[in-house]
């Protein structure tokens, strides 16, 4: 029974993060695509999370850190298959320039950037999710950040002045 509770807990915390990640991966696609991906990933994960027998004693349950990597990995693999084709014709650009820029990135670079910058995974974990070496993953991350560096992400109003980030304490 405790095993089941663990699984349940994992699902409670993991699903929202996986959705966030999926939404980033599917930048440029409708949001429903992202939710479909998460659903499919959770389905694929089901057996590996619960263990060989659904009512088993829990010896098959992986450690939380491994489960996390496994979950991101399942989602990433599914997304790679699904998003292989060209992106659908874009409608109006989204309100955030970063989302549009993200959609333009090659898939692997988007994965590396999102895992590290958005999901807060370590380089090691991110590399495991990608199934690449740490060096490759870092190189993709660097390329992704370079590609996004053209964006002007400074806060819009009044911040152009040299002292825009000053805060009057009193």
């Amino acid at each position: 029974m405790t095993n089941r509770d663990d699984v349940f807990h994992f699902e409670e915390t993991a699903a929202p993060r996986l959705r966030r990640y999926a939404r980033g991966l599917c930048a440029g696609y409708p949001a429903a695509e992202a939710d479909d991906l998460v659903q499919a990933a959770l389905e694929r994960l089901g057996p590996s999370l619960i263990g060989p027998s659904p009512r088993g004693s829990g010896d098959g349950a992986p450690q939380p850190a491994q489960a996390r990597v496994a979950a991101y990995r399942a989602l990433t693999d599914l997304a790679r298959q699904k998003l292989r084709g060209p992106a659908p014709p874009r409608g109006a650009p989204s309100h955030a320039p970063i989302v549009d820029a993200l959609a333009e990135l090659p898939f692997d670079e988007r994965v590396a950037l999102l895992l590290v910058a958005l999901e807060g995974l370590s380089y090691e974990d991110a590399a495991n999710v990608c199934g690449a070496t740490r060096e490759t993953t870092v190189a993709r991350l660097i390329r992704a950040r370079a590609a996004l560096s053209g964006l002007d992400l400074r806060p819009a109003n009044g911040a152009r002045r040299a002292g825009g980030h000053l805060r009057v304490v009193k």
Binding site: R17, R19, G24, L42, P54, L118, R154, G163, V169, K170
Partner: protein, 295 residues
């Protein structure tokens, strides 16, 4: 200053928290000397913030109820004859699951709320203890997260030193020595030149900070009013909340190059703002030549 080569990967690793403390220090020192690389790092941090701003809300939405793990395929449905079974056990089990999930989430929210209250109370108590001048060492909870924050520290330093006959440990005549000392102890050795605003540099010293030694530079106006620039390595935590009213002292706070800066003094808000902008610009400006240790 930096014997080993700092690569671009090091800069990324700094942003991503992948560096060991020693290496992190080395890279941060390197950034102080290379503002153009510091600007790169700043840009990547902005990218991270923009990504979070764009997608973080998704993680806080309640996932659609369709988004649930499929049931373990073990139990076959009880009665599947095609008739409508209003009291079908499987249906009620599904609702129960959703209820269970909601209850768990509510319980978690309640717990985290309580936890926040307790932590807040502890932090307030710790600040009270720290401010009432108890001789014991400050408990670790009283960090930069306390509402006094760097500005509060800056004010204590100001009250202690600024009007003292020996306001500074090393005067303006030995600026190079002062810079080297501050760089070594505080991690930041630039002395902004505020003389165009009528603020003459007197000198500086090392003073106790919130967590680490802090730098304290004193400037004087013609009238004798003194302005102090306090800076300490920022811990990257949340910006402390607005400080309390503090008599006639004005204070202005900003962060740059991994440091928290506070400019404090009994001068008009305009002068304070102007001096703050100038100091902030100098601190990150590429043409500002950092004092070499031993110059």
């Amino acid at each position: 200053m930096t014997p080993e080569q700092i690569t671009e990967a090091d800069l990324h690793a700094l942003v991503d928290g992948e560096l060991a403390p020693d290496r992190r220090r080395a890279v941060e020192d390197h950034l102080l000397q290379h503002p153009e690389e510091a600007a790169l790092v700043e840009g990547w941090r902005r990218q991270n913030a923009a990504l979070r701003a764009a997608f973080d809300h998704v993680a806080h939405e309640t996932p659609p109820t369709t988004l649930r793990r499929p049931k373990a395929p073990a139990t076959p449905g009880p009665i599947e004859t095609g008739a409508i079974h209003w009291g079908r056990p499987s249906a009620s089990r599904a609702t129960r699951r959703v209820d269970e999930a909601r209850r768990a989430r509510r319980k978690k929210a309640l717990l985290s709320g309580l936890l926040t209250l307790v932590v807040g109370a502890l932090a307030a108590a710790a600040i009270f203890l720290a401010l009432s001048g108890g001789p014991k060492s400050r408990p670790p909870t009283a960090s930069a997260a306390d509402p006094q924050g760097y500005a509060g520290r800056a004010e204590v330093a100001y009250q202690t030193f600024a009007q003292d006959a020996r306001a500074v440990e090393i005067d303006a005549g030995r600026k190079g020595e002062l810079s080297a000392w501050l760089l070594r102890r505080v991690g930041f050795g630039l002395v902004p030149d505020l003389s165009p605003l009528g603020l003459r540099f007197l000198g500086g010293r090392v003073t106790p900070g919130l967590r680490e030694p802090a730098g304290f530079l004193v400037y004087e106006r013609d009238g004798g009013d003194r302005l102090a620039l306090y800076f300490e390595r920022a811990d990257g935590g949340a910006t402390p909340g607005p400080g309390p009213r503090r008599g006639f002292l004005g204070a202005i706070e900003w962060r740059a190059a991994g440091m928290a800066f506070v400019l404090i003094g009994p001068v008009s808000a305009e002068l304070l703002q102007a001096a703050g902008e100038r100091a902030a610009a100098e601190v990150i400006a590429p043409q500002a030549t950092p004092a070499e240790p031993g110059r």
